[in-house]
């Protein structure tokens, strides 16, 4: 579904991505793990049209996406949930969701958007409870749910998640990953960037390990979890625990 070939990007003179290639098949959950500054978020931003790549190609199905602006990318069914949620704090939960479904509203009308909202609230019952509440008053976990829900309102074919678990309590993290699992059951294709490598590899089909703007490893999630380099670098010192 998504095919990235030798994508390079720079911020000024600093090269942040060097010839990065990866793909995501339909219905797959693919994760990119790596330390801070490895270029993971830049990669998602380059696909989303927020960062302009210096070279390389991005194919979504068969259409070229590199250089497209963010609105075009969204209209082709590729939606990014950015790091730090970026919800609209002064709007209600409902209005946040409706904004996520703006394109569908325009194309398919109010009824389609409302139906989608019901579907999203089914996935996140807490949003239903807080539908009229100001988004800024939600807890961190609830805000993350809202950001996810807002993205789903566009009914994306490819959902890109940038550090969805960052800054959240362990229990909430588990909830977020449960949602990702449920998304897979619905057939949504997910590209997941995470520092929480353990949780990401547990939910993903395949993964890529990034280091200083390059892919160092790729493979089935189980294989990566078994790789000693990955264990030492990303799964914590007591990496033997994951055998249990």
């Amino acid at each position: 579904m998504l095919r990235i070939t030798s994508l390079a990007a720079r911020y000024g003179a600093a090269e942040v991505l060097h010839a990065v290639s990866l793909h995501v098949g339909p219905g797959e959950i693919v994760t990119i793990i790596g330390a801070n500054g490895a270029g993971k978020s830049t990669l998602l931003n380059a696909v989303a049209g927020v960062v302009k790549p210096a070279s390389g190609t991005v194919l979504l199905d068969s259409s070229r996406m590199e250089g497209a602006d963010p609105a075009q990318v969204v209209s082709r069914g590729c939606v990014l949930v950015p790091e730090g949620r970026q919800i609209f704090p002064d709007l209600s939960v409902r209005d946040n969701l409706l904004l996520g479904g703006y394109l569908r509203w325009r194309r398919e009308g109010k009824r389609a958007a409302a139906a989608e909202m019901d579907g999203v609230c089914e996935l996140f019952p807490v949003l239903e409870e807080r539908r009229e509440q100001r988004a800024g008053t939600l807890s961190g976990g609830e805000q993350q749910m809202l950001a996810l829900g807002r993205a789903l309102m566009a009914r994306p074919r490819l959902l890109m998640l940038d550090e969805p678990s960052i800054g959240l309590a362990p229990l909430v993290v588990r909830e977020i990953f449960d949602v990702i699992r449920r998304l897979r059951e619905r057939g949504t294709t997910v590209l997941l960037v995470e520092q929480n490598a353990r949780a990401a590899l547990a939910v993903a089909d395949r993964g890529y390990v990034m280091e200083t703007g390059r892919i160092m490893l790729e493979g089935a999630a189980a294989e990566l979890a078994a790789n000693h380099d990955v264990r030492r670098a990303y799964l914590g010192k007591e990496y033997r625990q994951i055998d249990e």
Partner: protein, 425 residues
């Protein structure tokens, strides 16, 4: 039967993407972890980031057997030794051996690659597989063993040596599949005849032969004497071991496991990439190996590649059967001949055995060629016919000497040393 539909029948465009991703990651890892690659890339004036498509592979420098030898023992390992769970080695008959390390994931990959070649020969969990490759530092025994276990066959680690025991095992254990070198298979076939074990009295139905070049003539011999289908497979320890490429039931070339290796054929003299269909030296790049990645390794083996689709459904490129090793090319003045060509002539003669050795010598400034062939008794008609046919092929006199069965040394894995060059260097 196709073992892994997802990868073996993957659309070519999809596989190109997978190959590129894995190639880039391999180059990045090799440059980070192996000093040799940092130096060889620097000498060639290239960086890893230049590999932006599969075609850019040609920009990268070659790795030679000499490079691997210089790094003896662990210099080419890309992971710390604590991550290595297995070590194999080349024989070292022609110099310092090459020591190869495998991680746990590498062993899984290896078993997968071998499982594919066995499944292509129709092997299933109902088969009894006799592995008559040497178990030891040589990668043949353990490689076939792991793949056969992956398929679920009942595996007999018979190892090489003890022909009588091999025959007894085939008979008593009801072996259905045999894996060994073709020359050892031919020795086993001889021992079976001697023991009076006819085709109807054993269960063998398929043979997986490799680790040395062998001719179609030998294939026909083995198939008729053992009553089996004989399939070729290719591998070398420096790159993986058995499992790099294999024949399917069509037997029109060996499918390269392209999701794990990238194959090129180059001009042995200039290193320039040759077009599909043209013979040259096989160059292999590993794209999934963790412990011992090799980038553009000059195998010294001669073959050609084709990307024509195969009716079996596999979308892998195919290499022709190995015609010989570049080092094996016998050059006597204007005469250039591969041992496999000589083998074909020998086997065309009825009654001749495929157990032969080529001895090149020089006396009084003239090169001479002697062929030693194992024969049960004196058979002047056969030796004469071989001598006449070879003389005609090579346009030079050839002496054919009969020797008793098993007189020719089989040092490793049952391989007969095919060429003995006694000429002063």
């Amino acid at each position: 039967m196709i073992w892994n539909e997802d990868f073996e029948t993957m659309k070519t465009t999809e596989r190109e993407q997978v190959q590129l991703e894995r190639l880039q990651a391999t180059v990045n890892r090799a440059l980070r972890n192996v000093a040799f690659y940092r130096e060889s890339f620097a000498r060639a004036g290239v960086t890893g980031d230049e590999v932006r498509s599969r075609a850019h592979l040609v920009r990268l420098p070659f790795t030679t057997k000499e490079d691997l030898r210089t790094s003896y023992p662990y210099g080419m390992f890309a992971v710390p030794l604590r991550d290595i769970v297995r070590i194999h080695s080349t024989s070292g008959t022609t110099g310092t051996p090459v020591i190869v390390g495998y991680t746990r994931n590498d062993l899984k990959t290896w078993a997968e690659c071998v499982a594919r070649l066995l499944a292509a020969g129709g092997m299933t969990e109902h088969d009894v597989m006799q592995v008559a490759f040497t178990y030891g530092l040589f990668s043949g025994g353990f490689g076939l063993h792991a793949g056969a276990e992956r398929v679920g066959a009942s595996v007999i680690p018979a190892s090489a040596g003890g022909l009588e025991k091999q025959v007894r095992t085939i008979r008593d254990f009801k072996t259905t599949a045999l894996a060994c070198t073709p020359s050892y298979a031919s020795a086993i076939a001889g021992a079976m005849t001697e023991a009076g074990l006819s085709r109807e009295q054993h269960s063998l139905r398929v043979g997986f032969f490799g680790a040395e070049p062998w001719s179609e003539g030998l294939r026909a011999r083995l198939e008729s004497s053992l009553g089996i289908t004989a399939l070729d497979n290719y591998g070398l320890t420096e790159v993986l071991g058995p499992g790099i490429s294999f024949e399917c039931e069509r037997r029109e070339g060996l499918h390269v496991n392209e999701d794990h290796f990238v194959a090129e054929v180059v001009d042995p003299a200039t290193g320039e990439v040759r077009a599909d269909g043209i013979d040259g030296e096989l160059v292999l790049t590993t794209i999934t190996k963790e412990g011992f990645p090799v980038i553009r390794y000059r195998t010294g083996d001669l073959c050609s590649l084709t990307r024509e689709p195969c009716p079996c459904g596999r979308t892998f490129a195919r290499m022709s059967r190995i015609q010989g090793r570049i080092d094996d090319l016998i050059i006597m003045g204007a005469v250039k001949v591969f041992p496999s060509q000589i083998e074909q002539v020998i086997l065309d003669v009825e009654g001749a055995t495929p157990d032969y050795q080529i001895v090149v010598d020089r006396a009084g400034g003239t090169d001479s060629l002697e062929i030693r062939v194992e024969m049960a008794g004196p058979a002047p008609a056969i030796t004469q016919r071989i001598s006449r046919k070879l003389g005609a092929l090579l346009d030079t006199p050839v002496t054919v000497t009969p020797v008793p069965p098993l007189a020719l040394a089989r040092p490793e894995g049952g391989k007969v040393r095919r060429v003995v060059d006694k000429r002063p260097v």
